[in-house]
């Protein structure tokens, strides 16, 4: 075997090893990522599978026990209008939104979620969350709970209220309502 060939074989062994590592790790650790209404259409197919579910926390559904750290809430689809706006923004305007439910329909579809642990700072009713875990007996058992805040690093609240000065007072009036909406807030 020529020297060149030997090195070629050696290099391909490494490439193959990396590929195998990736392949097996993807199989073992991947999760389907979907919105609540996408999930609602295929509940059966996803029972017991690792899922990442994006939705909005239903108003008045949050139950939190600070002694046991058990958290229960319902998530519903993110209303179509905002989801579409988000989806377009998220794809740089090249992709159309996949969510087609109307607000009225959206209010009816809910998925119960259970979680144990500390509440994330930004968790509250009417906030968008991403939960990761599995569904058992119709209940989503979340291992992780992420608060998806589209403006996490940017203050685009500013734009919403910027129409009439003075903006800061208005914002002050708007935001605590959102923050205190949940049954349990951090404060």
């Amino acid at each position: 075997m020529s020297r060149k060939l030997k090195f070629l074989v050696g290099a391909s062994v490494i490439v193959l090893a990396v590929a195998t590592l990736i392949y097996s790790a993807v199989r073992e650790t991947s999760a389907y990522f979907m919105t609540v209404d996408e999930y609602a259409k295929s509940v059966e197919a996803h029972a017991g599978k690792q899922l990442r579910l994006a939705g909005r926390v239903s108003n008045g559904s949050v139950k939190w026990d600070p002694k046991t750290l058990d958290l229960e809430f319902l998530i519903r689809p993110i209303p179509a209008k905002e989801a579409a706006a988000n989806a377009v923004a998220h794809s740089g305007g090249t992709k159309t939104a996949t969510v087609t439910t109307t607000d009225a329909e959206a209010a009816l579809i809910t998925v119960p979620v259970r979680y144990n642990g500390i509440l994330p700072d930004m968790f509250a009713a009417d906030r968008d969350v991403i939960v990761e875990g599995k569904v058992e007996n119709g209940v989503f058992h979340a291992k992780t709970l992420l608060t998806a805040c589209p403006s996490k690093y940017e203050s685009d609240q500013y734009k919403e209220n910027a129409q009439d000065a003075p903006a800061s007072d208005q914002r002050a009036a708007l935001d605590p309502a959102a923050a205190a909406g949940a049954g349990a807030t951090a404060q």
Partner: protein, 666 residues
């Protein structure tokens, strides 16, 4: 002031376009006047971008809330230091900041090469101005940082509280410097391809730049980890978030380049590979900027979505097409005269190290874009999380550290069995002993034992290198130990500086392994006086305090830290985990409190506090050996400084070049 800034950006963009045209035409027609004009345009671009940044900074410091950017990212009560940080806190500002760093790099390159690399410089200028023109074009046509509002708000909405942190003021600038300075080696590589002067000149010119950019990429990543660790409060420092990955990938390819370039210098091999790595590193920095600003992949770091994705994608395609096109065109000139002789040689080890580094970069890339790919191919979005990256990178990381021990010591060309034995018997022994020791002390995780073992192996080879070098000098030149050591390093800064960097990397590696494998965690709801024990520590909840100022309401818990468990525990200190509620962007944040020792960090989070029931929820982590990551970072920085420090000959050459002939002392 905003008019000045806006004008500077527009002029900077136009000047950059002129500079590109003049430089390229000048180089093609060998027209010195056009080339000179391109050079002047490059200086003008730097100056104008500087003026634009100065204008934005002035607006921020003056609290001119009529300017949309100022109103969105600062307020009159924001501390000055963070007001400056607001320059890169928002998307528009960060793009201008990027252009600004490029402008500085460009000015330095122009000055450094005013009498050098005459043939290459027009192409270098054109490449750098092309990148500069792209960023300024975004500011001219898409998002204007100097945009004014139709009214003047009384107050700004302030910088996001999560960004109001010490690390956050230095993490983004470091990363940006690291990202942007990769443009310099890239520009010289393009110039080498364009001119066909593919010898060592471009590599020697950019060696220090490559190291400089690697240094800031390393620091940027570490600062980011430190920020995540002290601010985000989930007990970790790295979540394999797309944006972290975006910063990590160019670091990996830059690391690969720093190694493979030595093979080109010494053996005239791997020329195409080195070109490819330079192109890849630069492309990955643009890709990283694209990831954070396009929202294609959702991430906690995302800036507001802006529809900028297609522009970045287009720019990336243009860069890749031009650079890969040039590379293919010049392939015949890049043929190497040597080839590998043996698998047991330094060349082969370096090649292997390169394959693994690029392999890691590829796995990270794959995991990052997997959701997008799976949606295209199968119509369903499948995500992979941290377990994927950890699983794939654990074996690759261990292999890399092992090679780090082998590479610097193994013989060039072909190592004999005898030389292998002489070089590696002692380090191998050390590795085995440490592995056995870790096992005896209770480590039962396969990777952890293996990792500690290879780490000890790599450290031992470095130790022996220093030791032998010192002994030789002592014996041959009769020097005292410390003199011998400092002269050993001084005579060969690159080599011994590199070893010091390796020691830093091993420290960081050990810190990462220990803290991810042996981490302990407990969540507990407690009343005042309750305590909880974890990993040899006991924490007791002693009470709650509330404070308030104009900026923030804060609630902090007094928690005493006890060494040991049960009645034998000794009180060693106190931590104050805190919950803050910022008043301006109404937002709660968690301030963790850390009791840090060399052995481990006790990391205490106040989860929530209920005034009615007086119950406080705590999350307590014991993170082993985290401190070694930060110490390793300092060692890495020192090592890089040793590498970059000009050698004695370089300094004397530089000085004598500046002293006109004739005025030199006899």
């Amino acid at each position: 002031m905003s008019e000045i800034g806006r004008l500077a950006v527009v002029l900077g963009f136009l000047v950059a376009l002129w500079g590109i045209a003049a430089s390229v035409l000048g180089a093609l027609r060998r027209d010195e006047r056009l080339i000179a004009s391109g050079k002047h345009a490059a200086y003008a671009f730097s100056a104008l971008t500087g003026i634009a940044v100065a204008a934005l900074l002035t607006l921020l410091l003056r609290h001119d809330f009529n300017v949309e950017y100022v109103a969105s990212y600062s307020s009159s009560t924001l501390p000055t230091w963070y007001t400056i940080a607001a320059l890169w806190g928002g998307m528009k500002g960060s793009l201008l900041w990027w252009a600004f760093i490029l402008a500085i790099c460009n000015a330095v390159v122009q000055l450094q090469n005013r009498d050098k690399n005459r043939d290459q410089m027009p192409w270098v200028t054109a490449t750098m101005l092309m990148v500069g023109a792209f960023f300024l074009a975004l500011l001219v046509f898409i998002t204007d940082p100097f945009e004014r509002l139709p009214f003047t708000p009384r107050e700004g909405s302030d910088l996001n509280p999560l960004l109001q942190n010490y690390w956050m003021t230095i993490h983004p600038p470091s990363l940006y410097i690291g990202f942007v300075s990769t443009t310099v080696p890239f520009a010289f590589a393009m110039a080498a391809l364009a001119t066909g002067k593919l010898g060592d000149a471009w590599i020697r010119t950019t060696r220090r730049w490559a190291l400089f950019s690697w240094f800031f990429l390393s620091l940027g990543n570490l600062f980011g980890a430190a920020w995540a660790y002290v601010v985000l409060g989930w007990g970790g420092y790295w979540a394999w978030d797309p944006v972290e990955n975006a910063a990590f990938m160019p670091w990996l390819t830059a690391t690969a380049y720093l190694h493979s370039v030595m093979i080109q210098e010494k053996k005239d091999m791997l020329k195409v590979w080195n070109m490819a790595l330079v192109i890849l590193t630069f492309a990955l920095t643009i890709f990283g900027t694209f990831l954070t600003r396009s929202g294609v992949i959702s991430s906690v770091h995302s800036f507001t979505q802006s529809g900028m994705g297609p522009f970045f994608m287009g720019f990336l395609l243009v860069i890749l097409t031009i650079s890969i096109g040039l590379l293919i065109w010049r392939l015949p000139l890049l043929k190497s005269r040597n080839e590998l002789e043996s698998v047991f040689s330094r060349e082969a080890t370096f090649l292997l190290n390169n394959l693994i580094l690029v392999g890691i970069a590829f796995t990270v890339f794959w995991g990052t874009v997997f959701p997008v790919l799976s949606e295209w191919v199968r119509g369903v979005k499948i995500t992979v999380g941290p377990p994927f990256f950890n699983k794939v990178n654990a074996p690759l990381g261990v292999a890399l550290v092992f090679l780090m021990g082998v590479g610097p010591v193994i013989a060039w060309r072909k190592a004999t069995a005898k030389s292998l034995w002489r070089s590696f018997a002692a380090p191998m022994g050390t590795g085995l002993v440490v592995g056995a020791l870790a096992f005896a002390l209770g480590a039962r995780n396969f990777y952890a034992v293996l990792a500690f073992s290879v780490a000890a192996f790599a450290l031992a080879t470095v130790w022996i290198e220093f030791w032998r070098g010192m002994r030789v000098r002592q014996a041959m030149l009769g020097e005292k130990p410390w003199t011998a050591l400092s002269r050993l390093i001084g005579k060969n800064r690159r080599r011994y500086g590199g070893y010091v960097v390796h020691v830093g990397i091993v420290m960081i590696f050990v810190g990462i392994v220990a803290s991810s494998v042996f981490k302990l965690e407990v969540q507990r709801s407690m009343k005042v006086g309750d305590s909880v024990s974890l990993g040899g520590y006991t924490v007791r909840y002693d009470g709650i305090h509330q404070e308030s100022d104009a900026h923030v309401d804060s609630t902090y818990a007094l928690v005493s830290v006890w060494d040991g468990e049960g009645p034998a525990a000794v009180r060693v200190g106190e931590v104050r985990p805190e919950k803050r509620f910022y008043k301006k962007p109404k937002q709660p944040t968690t301030e963790v409190s850390i009791w840090s020792t060399l052995g481990e960090d006790l990391y205490v989070v106040l989860g929530s506090y209920d005034p009615q029931s007086q119950l406080a929820v705590f999350q307590v982590f014991v993170n082993p050996m985290i401190a070694w990551m930060w110490i390793g970072g300092v060692v890495l920085a020192l090592g890089t400084a040793v590498c970059m420090w000009p050698s004695y000959t370089e300094r004397t050459v530089a000085v004598s070049a500046r002293v006109p002939a004739g005025s030199r002392p006899a």
